[in-house]
C-alpha cells in the first residue's frame, strides 16, 4: 500500500471520484491553472478540463450558490474555500439555502465544501480558524474532520457520495506533516463512525483533526493507559463510541484546536454528562484554544493554540484526580 501525505490522500480521493463519476466537478478560487492554493488540485485541469475544474471569481456566496444549484440538478460539486475562514463570506447560501432545502422541500443537495482550516504557522486571525462549530449550529449540514491520510481519502469519498451538503475540514497543519498508508483505488470510510486510535482503560481523550496526533504523541510520551478516540465525523457524532469510551474509563479529556465556547468539546461533554453520569470518576475536561482571535506572532500563537505540553499536563491532572 502506498504511503501518502494527508494532502496527497485528499487529491487522490478527489481524483478517484472524478474519474469514476462524470457528475463530480471542482470549483473554487485558483484551483484550476494554479492547482489550488495548497496544490490539492494540482494536475486536475490537465486531466479533467476547465469545465470540471472551474476557476471561480472571488465570490464565496456564488461558489456555494452555484454548488447548490448544480447539485440539485444532479451534478456533484466539490467546492473549495481557499481558507476555511472565508466560509463566512458564503455563510448565507450554506446555512439558509443548502442546509434547509431538504427539510423544507425534500430536495437533496449533494455537495461538498472543502475547508482548509487550522493554525500554527503565523497565519493570523483570518487564515487560522477552525470554524466547525458554526456548522454544527446549522441544521442540515454534515461535518467531517479527518486526522489521518487514510481517513482523509476515505471520508472525502463518502462525503462526495452523500446526498447532503458536507463540510470537509482539512487541517492545513496536517497536509504535509501527516503521512500514512492509503489504500489504492476506491476507498470508503463511512460518515458517523469514530475510530479508536489508541486503546486504554484509565483515561479517554476524545479528539479530532490536528488534536489527534497531538494526543497520541502525548500519550506515548507519558506512557500511560490512555485511550484516544478520533471522532472523524462531527455531525453526525458517533455517540455510541463516545459513551462507550467514557463509561469504560470514567475520565474524559476532550481536545480540539478550535476555540472553547460552544465547540465540539462542549457538545461532547454535555452528551457524556447526560448519558454517562453514573460512570464518571472525574469531571469532564476540555483542552481548547481560548475565545480569542488567533494571533500572528509565534509566542502569542503558541500561547493560544494547545501545545504538546498542555495536552500532557491535562492528561496528568485527570489521571491523578
Amino acid at each position: 500500500m502506498p504511503e501518502l501525505t494527508y494532502l496527497q490522500a485528499i487529491s487522490d480521493g478527489l481524483r478517484e471520484e472524478m474519474r469514476r463519476d462524470e457528475a463530480v466537478f471542482c470549483l473554487g478560487e485558483d484551483i484550476g491553472a494554479f492547482g489550488g492554493a495548497f496544490k490539492v488540485t494540482d494536475g486536475f485541469i490537465e486531466e479533467f478540463g476547465a469545465d470540471r475544474v472551474l476557476d471561480t471569481p472571488l465570490a464565496e456566496n456564488m461558489i456555494i450558490g452555484a454548488s447548490i444549484g448544480s447539485a440539485i440538478e444532479g451534478m456533484k460539486p466539490v467546492a473549495e474555500m481557499q481558507f476555511a475562514d472565508f466560509i463566512s463570506c458564503g455563510f448565507d447560501q450554506l446555512v439558509n439555502v443548502a442546509g434547509k432545502l431538504h427539510y423544507r422541500q425534500g430536495v437533496s443537495v449533494p455537495m461538498v465544501v472543502r475547508l482548509p482550516s487550522g493554525g500554527g504557522f503565523s497565519g493570523g486571525p483570518f487564515h487560522s480558524q477552525n470554524p466547525e462549530a458554526w456548522f454544527l449550529q446549522a441544521p442540515g449540514l454534515k461535518v467531517v474532520a479527518p486526522a489521518t491520510a487514510d481517513d482523509a481519502k476515505g471520508l472525502l469519498t463518502s462525503a462526495i457520495r452523500d446526498p447532503n451538503p458536507v463540510c470537509f475540514l482539512e487541517h492545513k497543519g496536517l497536509y504535509r506533516h501527516v503521512k500514512g498508508e492509503v489504500p489504492e483505488g476506491e476507498h470508503i470510510v463511512p460518515l458517523g463512525e469514530a475510530r479508536i486510535a489508541r486503546e486504554g482503560d484509565e483515561l479517554s481523550v476524545i479528539a479530532y483533526g490536528s488534536s489527534v496526533p497531538l494526543a497520541l504523541e502525548a500519550a506515548e510520551q507519558l506512557d500511560e493507559d490512555i485511550e484516544v478516540l478520533d471522532l472523524r465525523t462531527l455531525n453526525p457524532l458517533d455517540s455510541d463510541a463516545i459513551l462507550t469510551s467514557a463509561r469504560k474509563t470514567g475520565k474524559v479529556l476532550i481536545a480540539h484546536e478550535a476555540t472553547r465556547a460552544c465547540g465540539v468539546g462542549a457538545e461532547v461533554a454535555s452528551l457524556i454528562s447526560e448519558e454517562a453520569f453514573e460512570s464518571l470518576d472525574a469531571p469532564v475536561r476540555r483542552l481548547t484554544a481560548p475565545d480569542v482571535p488567533i494571533p500572528f506572532s509565534p509566542p502569542l500563537e503558541q500561547a493560544v493554540l494547545p501545545q504538546l505540553d498542555d495536552v500532557k499536563e491535562a492528561m496528568r491532572e485527570l489521571l491523578a484526580y
Binding site: N61, G65, G69, E73, D92, N96, Q105, V107, P110, G140
Partner: protein, 371 residues
Amino acid sequence: MKLEAASPSRSPERDGAQDALTRDDRALLLRYMLLQRLSEERGLTLYKQGKVPGSFYDGCGQEAVCVGAAFPLGPRDRMCILHRDLGAHFVRGVTPDRYLANYMGREGGVTGGRDGNMHFGDRELGCVGMVSMLPDMAQVASGMALAFKMRREPRVAMTFFGEGSTANGQWHEAMNFAGIHRLPVVFVLENNKFAYSTPTELEFAVDPVGRAKGYGFPGVSVDGNDVEAVFEVARIAADRARDGAGPTLIECHTMRMHGHGAHDDMSYVPDELLEEWSHRDPIELYSRQLIDEHGFDSDEVEGIRASVEAYVDGCAEEALASPMPDPSIASEGVFAERWETLGDGQAPWSRWSPSANGNGRRPHLEHGRAA
C-alpha cells in the same frame, strides 16, 4: 428594447408574439392571471379571518410579470419563484388548494407545514422554493444553469427578484458569474417601485437594467403589465439561453398594488401613483385586448373568470379540509437518504406539445380540476 408609454396597442413586442401564441394559449394566459388574482384574494380573506399564521404576501397588480415570464418555459426548464409570483407556480402545475393550504400551515400545503407563505416550490414540478434572504435564489438558478451548460443540455433556469434586492452583493455575484460563463439563465427583475417601504431612488443610483451590459449580457425593459409583451421578451431570452447565447436581464415595470405584506398599509406610497397604475390593471387590460384584437367575445372572457372563481372556491374548501400536520414529523427530514431528480414542470404553451411533455399533461380549459 425600451418601452414607450403604456399604450398597449403600440407596444413593439406585440407583433412577434402574434405568431407564437395560439388562441388557446391566450385564454390560458388570462386564466393563469385570474387564478393568481382570485387565489390571492381568497388567501387574503382567510388571513383576515385568522386562519393564516404568520404573514400574508401577494402580487396583486403584478400577475402579468410572472405568468408572462413562466409561460414560455418547457417541461425540463427550472424556476426559482418569488413571493409575488404565484402565477408562475400555477403555470408550472401547482394548484390553488396546495397554495392556500401552505399559507394555513396544513398537511396538504406544498411544504406540509415546514415552511410558510410563499417559501415553497414543488420539487416534482421542477421548482426550487425561495428563502427569505434575497436574492439568494439568483445564485441557485445560476448553479442549475451551470449544470445545464456543463452537460450541454438545451435547458434554461429562470429566477425572479425585486428591484430592491439588486442592491445586494449576491445579485452582483450571480449576474457576474452568469455573464462570465454565458450561463443559460433568465433573470427577471420585477421593478414594482418599492422594496417594502424603500423607493427605488434609495436602492440604486442607476436603473439596474443598464447594468446588465456591465456584466456582459443584454438587459431589456418591458411593460410588466402587458402579459404578451412579457411573454415575448421571456420567450426570446429563454430561446437565446438554450441556444448558448447566455443570460438576459428582463426588467418588468409594474406596480405593487397592495402593501409589502397584508400587515403593511402602504401609507408611504403617493396616492397619484396608485391612481395612475389602477388604470393599468394587467387582467383588465388583457381581457379588453382579447376582445378587441383576438376575436374573443365578452361572454367567453366572462366564462373564464367564472370558471376560475368556481375552481378557486372548490380549492379553498379542499385546503380548509386539510388537517394540521402531526407534530411528530417536526424533527424529520433534515437529511436526504438519496438524491432524486427534480420532476418536470407542466408546460402549457402550445409549443410544448403533449409528446414533448414527458407525461402528456395539458391543463384543462373547462370547469373542474386542472391537471
